[in-house]
């Protein structure tokens, strides 16, 4: 029986993630493209693509607590750091020289989820602040958390290696197989970074479905209720403290998982990485990508993650730009990023997602687009 695309037979159909065959086909095409891309792209682009994926995961987390539940947090980078170091301790090597650094060399199947769980636990400890504070006050206090967190991490030398020295990230063993020097499956050969890319894709798929699930569940509705009208939410019986805590915990879980993977391509990490600017990056990505949706952070993260590559490409291929702009690639990147943040805040608060949304509606109505 052929079904009408917008006719739902049951509530279950109506809330399904992929509602119809068009959605399924699009999902399949994107999935295949991403799988092939991982194999054909060169190492430089694999690094940028992986960065985009890890950023997406982290930004989904921020989107849960700030976009969905309305609790503005500038401390997201700190939870990413908690994930990074949990993974490094659980999955990394211990060294005695030049400093004593601890590491238990466990499998990724343990360190990856654990990084999320430990970060979620720390999120739960911080959550009561959000119960007492609102809006700008919470944002300001969360900045304090970044500074206190940096201070603690710098001094936990056996965990972080201390500022300026850093430590190696978690090891590259998954399900007993080490892919530090690449991986051979049948006739296919993958580099370490390619394997990390595919692992990132899989994790992002699972966690992306997680965000979608939250949005279509009682949890997402409760977050939105707290964000939009907290007094009405309470009068409905929603426990503000409990759901703010759950938003912080889930958000930090995503941050932790992202943190565990984020520096594994480079293989080393320094505490100085986790300053305030690092946390602000995630806010900026949410703003550029679009608040409150699953797609927004994907758009924002791809934009942010791939921009260095695009700028490099343009500079490499255009003598004119190379000669006429007195900025280096990193500076150009920052300027563009800044312009986008201001531009989106002023003209399209829904971010890149909103632009895409408008384009789509335009083409849906095309050629009758008036």
């Amino acid at each position: 029986m052929r079904r009408r695309p917008d006719l739902y037979i049951s509530y279950r159909d109506e809330t399904a993630i992929l509602k119809n065959n068009t959605h399924r086909v699009i999902a399949l095409i994107i999935a295949s493209a991403l799988l092939i891309l991982g194999y054909v792209a060169d190492d430089y682009w694999i690094l940028l693509l992986s960065a985009s994926i890890f950023l997406t995961i982290a930004t989904w987390g921020l989107n849960i607590v700030s976009g969905m539940a309305g609790q503005i947090s500038l401390a997201h980078g700190f939870f990413v750091a908690v994930g990074t170091y949990t993974a490094a301790v659980v999955g990394g090597f211990s060294t005695e020289f030049p400093n004593k650094i601890i590491g238990y060399e466990l499998d990724m199947i343990i360190w990856l989820p654990l990084a999320g769980i430990v970060a979620a636990g720390v999120g739960l400890i911080i959550a009561p602040l959000a119960v007492r504070l609102k809006g700008l006050n919470l944002a300001l206090v969360s900045i304090g958390i970044v500074y206190i967190g940096s201070y603690i991490l710098s001094n936990l030398k056996t965990v972080t290696g201390g500022a300026g020295l850093g430590r190696k990230t978690a090891g590259y063993t998954i399900l007993g197989v080490n892919f530090k020097d690449g991986l051979e499956i049948g006739s296919l050969i993958f580099t370490k970074n390619q394997v990390l890319y595919y692992i990132g894709l899989l994790v992002a798929l699972l966690l992306g479905i997680g965000v979608k699930n939250l949005l279509r569940s009682k949890i997402g509705r409760a977050y939105a209720a707290i964000r939009d009208r907290d007094i009405a939410a309470e009068a409905i019986g929603i426990n503000l403290a409990r759901f703010k805590a759950s938003a912080f915990a889930l958000s930090s879980f995503y941050a932790g998982v992202a943190g565990a993977l984020m520096f594994s391509t480079i293989g080393a990490v320094d505490v100085e990485r986790f300053g305030l600017l690092f946390s602000v990056t995630f806010i900026a990505i949410v703003v550029i990508g679009g608040v409150g949706t699953v797609m927004g952070p994907i758009f924002g993260s791809i934009f942010f993650g791939l921009m260095p590559g695009i700028i490099k490409f343009v500079i490499d291929h255009s003598e004119f730009i190379r000669d006429s702009i007195p900025l280096n690639a990193a500076q150009i990147e920052r300027v563009i990023f800044g312009l986008f943040i201001v531009g989106f805040l002023m003209f399209e608060p829904r971010g890149l997602w909103g632009v895409w949304f408008r384009l789509r509606n335009y083409f849906k109505a095309w050629p009758f687009s008036y």
Binding site: Y11, R12, T15, G210, N213, L214, R216, S217, K218, I219, G220, R221, A222, A224, A225, D228, R229, I231, A232, A233, E234, A235, I236, G237, I238, N239, L240, S246, A249, L250
Partner: protein, 255 residues
């Protein structure tokens, strides 16, 4: 237990303003209880004291014979008390359906992690919630607005949806703050009919605030009249209309 809500000498003041002064009354089980009085009389303050949004300066509020002084607003709601607000407090950026589903929150039983993975239990509970919502949409005759965003709907419909959200909590006590305010005669009659149905068919005890006496006189089983934070009258609605102090309070108040 025969009174669902009990005010014992409740006073409430805000830096010099006495919103309520020594107010006592009881809302009997199964009543359609009305609170009337001119603007600023303290009617909404009574509801806020029941919801736990305000705490009495002195005196005690009891719900189901339990002192609610130390019970948080969400826990009070979960005792089975739901309400609407004088100025509509819907979630404007959501659809009618989502607003009503939020109302059903307390009947959906699963945790955050279950929601994240959308477990079997989550699926089952969500379907149950949807059933609750559909029953209410049906009851209030708002099918055509199911997927409409609140912002796009007329005022009268929004009021009805807020009533729906309150009903989705399946309360034992329903507090309605001026449900007919700003409505024309026809819409007021619709609302009156729904309130009667809620009281009689769903057997919910209703407490109804109105600053206009007319609708209340027709449907209420008991009324208290407020003026300047004090209770002027308590009893049969038909008697209220004859009471001299009530008439005096309403003199000069033109509707």
């Amino acid at each position: 237990m025969n009174s669902l809500i009990k005010f014992e000498n409740v006073s409430l003041n805000f830096g010099g303003v006495n919103a309520l002064t020594e107010v006592s009354f009881e809302v009997p089980d199964n009543s359609l209880f009305a609170i009337i009085g001119p603007n600023g009389a303290g009617k909404t303050s009574i509801f806020n004291c029941v919801s736990g949004i305000y705490r009495p300066t002195t005196g005690v509020v009891k719900i189901f014979d339990e002192d609610i002084s130390n019970i948080k607003p969400d826990a009070i709601a979960n005792l089975g008390v739901s309400r609407t607000f004088q100025n509509i407090e819907l979630f404007e950026n959501m659809t009618t359906l989502d607003n009503i589903l939020i109302g059903a929150h307390r009947h959906i039983d699963y945790g955050s992690v279950s929601g994240l993975i959308f477990s079997k239990k989550t699926r089952r509970e969500e379907e149950k919630a949807r059933q609750i919502a559909e029953d209410i949409i049906d009851f209030l005759e708002i099918e055509e607005y199911r997927y409409s965003y609140i912002l796009s709907l007329p005022y009268g419909i929004q009021k009805r949806i807020e009533l729906g959200r309150a009903l989705a909590m399946k309360p034992k006590i329903l507090l309605l703050d001026e449900p007919a305010a700003g409505m024309n005669n026809e819409e007021t009659e619709d609302i009156a009919r729904f309130i009667l149905d809620i009281h009689e068919e769903l057997e919910i005890t209703v407490v109804l605030i109105d600053h206009d006496m007319n609708m209340v006189m027709d449907i209420a089983t008991e009324v208290i009249v407020m003026d300047f934070g004090k209770k002027l009258f308590d009893g049969d609605p038909k008697e209220a209309a004859k009471d001299s102090s009530v008439i005096e309070a309403y003199l000069g108040v033109s509707d």
